[in-house]
């Protein structure tokens, strides 16, 4: 007998609103998936054309608060491409630091949710508490725990002095051993393995076909990290900075979690490398640069994978057209492969394993 099951759109197990209509057999194995989207669609591609370039520095940050730094960063890269602005080296370094700090916090939040959904409360609390160190750091240096407001067209709004660099290093000294300990526990914890190994499998061929990116791709053995494949900002100038990504072949929920641990630890290494060798000089070229008519496509690696911005301008104060594609936009289709044939009780955990950013996706 087929049973119909719905999940959402409002549920404590769903960070963001989405609506699942499932069909399952007697064993609660899923035979049909339908996912209804659009709850977070805010019409942002229309809004960005009604706001000027300075306002859009902040609006793009509100696409999503988890990868909030990547949006203004990538938007700024698009503007700079059109205006032919070369960003000072110090600003490139500052942008990378802000980005990698965000990556650590974002990935840790996803892992907390994983252990929460796997009912492993001890691991969840320890992960959340480790993340709190990064949150405190963001609040002290950038003024907010989520939205850093770090970027400016042609550079950054913020700078780091000796005292702040010391604070970053001290925080990393506290966090790094905790991260290694967590990594070990996530790898070996029997309860977690039971819930996640072999669950929500995305075979490599499907991953390639669907075009997934980020840790979802890396969990299925594919490396398309933009920092490696098409390096930008300081990653372009300093090849040693580029991450040595963790690839896993299993393609399951557990593999994706472990790929994220690889990203986190590399982020810590990258931040250390950058602050150890900070370029001197200005942090921006011009506070309010003139933006001529033009067209640009640029990419960066957000915590969830490839982020791409298309921008078209006509010399006025506002964009004519701006479009962006976030990792979840393509990773989402992989969900159907992962969920079909798996158990109903695993659905929210599988969803979480692609680290869905619905606000990013639906805009």
């Amino acid at each position: 007998m087929t049973q119909k099951i719905t999940i959402g759109p409002f549920s404590p197990e769903l960070e963001e609103s989405v609506y699942f209509k499932l069909e399952a057999d007697e064993e609660r194995t899923i035979t049909h998936v339908e996912i209804i989207n659009g709850f977070i669609h805010r019409g942002m591609e229309s809004l960005v054309t009604k706001k000027n370039f300075m306002q859009n520095l902040i609006l793009t940050e509100r696409v999503c608060s988890l990868c909030s730094n990547n949006h203004p960063f990538t938007y700024a890269l698009a503007v700079e491409k059109i205006a032919g602005i070369k960003v000072p080296m110090r600003a490139e370094a500052l942008r990378v630091i802000a980005d990698e700090v965000k990556r650590v916090a974002s990935d840790l939040f996803n892992l907390s949710m994983l252990t929460h959904l796997a009912h492993n409360h001890e691991l969840m609390r320890d992960t959340m508490n480790t993340r709190e160190h990064m949150q405190d750091l963001k609040e002290i240096i950038w003024g907010n725990r989520m939205d850093m407001s770090a970027n400016l067209l042609s550079g950054t709004k913020y700078d780091l002095d000796e005292r702040k660099i010391k604070l970053i290093l001290e925080t990393l000294d506290i966090v790094e051993p905790k991260l290694r300990d967590l990594q070990e526990r996530y790898e070996t914890d029997e309860q977690l393995r039971k819930k996640t190994v072999g669950v929500g499998v995305l075979p490599k061929e499907d991953a390639l076909e669907i075009g997934v990116t980020g840790p979802v791709a890396r969990g299925s053995g594919i490396n398309n990290d933009v920092r490696v494949k098409a390096p930008y900002s300081l990653y372009a100038y300093r090849p040693k900075l580029r991450p040595k990504v963790t690839l896993r072949e299993e393609g399951d929920v557990h593999a994706r979690a472990m790929a994220r641990f690889g990203d986190i630890l590399e982020a810590v290494r990258i931040i250390r490398d950058v602050v150890a060798d900070m370029p001197e000089g200005d942090t921006y070229v011009e506070k309010r640069p003139h933006i001529p008519a033009g067209e640009a496509v640029v990419r960066t690696e957000a915590p969830r994978g490839e982020l791409i911005y298309y921008l078209k301008t006509d010399g006025s104060q506002k964009p004519v057209r701006m479009r962006w594609k976030v990792p979840t936009f393509t990773n989402w289709e992989a969900l159907k492969v992962m969920i079909l044939g798996d158990k109903v009780d695993n659905v929210t955990m599988i969803l979480n394993s692609i680290d869905p950013c619905i606000s990013c996706t639906e805009r």
């Binding site: 963001e16 000027n52 902040i58 609390r125 002290i140 950038w142 939205d147």
Partner: protein, 292 residues
Amino acid sequence: MSKVVPKVFRINTGSCNGCDVEFVAAAFVDKFHIATSDVEFVDDVKDANLLVITGPLTARSESFLKNALTKLKKPFTVVGVGTCSVSCGIFRDSYAINGPLDKFVDVDVNVAGCPPRPESIAEGIAKGIKVLEQKLSGEVTPKTIDTIFSDFSAPASFRGRMDLNPDMCTGCRTCETVCPSTAIKIEENEEGFIHNIWHNSCCYCGNCAYFCPTGAIFSTNSFDTVKLQNEKFSDVNVANIPFEECSCCGEKYMPPSRGLLGKSYVHDDVNKLNTNICSKCRKEANFKRMYA
């Protein structure tokens, strides 16, 4: 007063997820007090008596929210978390936005911030509980509630409520132009400019302070943004920036930033240097001095 067990349910109506992530922090990290108090997080909206609602209410969320509301038993309390739940904030006037929330549900407590700190979210929930207790004991309009968690503090660099130093401001409107969520309105009358900052529309981004040429507008580290619904429209920072009357021609004019002049001419007597002359008359006077 009757004791109640607060049963919390969160509804996301299209948030950027910042508020929801911080809600999770507030709910699970001990230092924010909620995790260690007797608040219950329920799995089904029908069991809740305290709704936490985030987001600007997208078109698609509307019917689902309305439906969820019919399942609740009265009395219940609604806490709107995040600037965009209070006023749609930065997303206002988009075709896909049907909010703000109070068009569809009686909101009791508003927590502005973008996102608010978990400390503020915890405070919002705690105030929501107080309102619920008042409702249970028959109170119709909620009575003022003092700050509940007084032990929270914020680092000096926290981007909190905006403030303005009228002595520095010249009414140049830069802040109004760069503000992404129309939280600033500058009006003009015969007396001068009136500079308004509406905290419930502010996304605490600091853009205004960053681009302000005189440093007149600045963020404080105050996170006192948890307010009852009846304060929604009155939580505004209003400052008068008066014109001066030209001692020469009698015209009203806006002098350059008084505060800044004091800084750049420390050795001069600012008042004498700038004795109430409009720029037109000063030019004429200078011209005469040089060529007459």
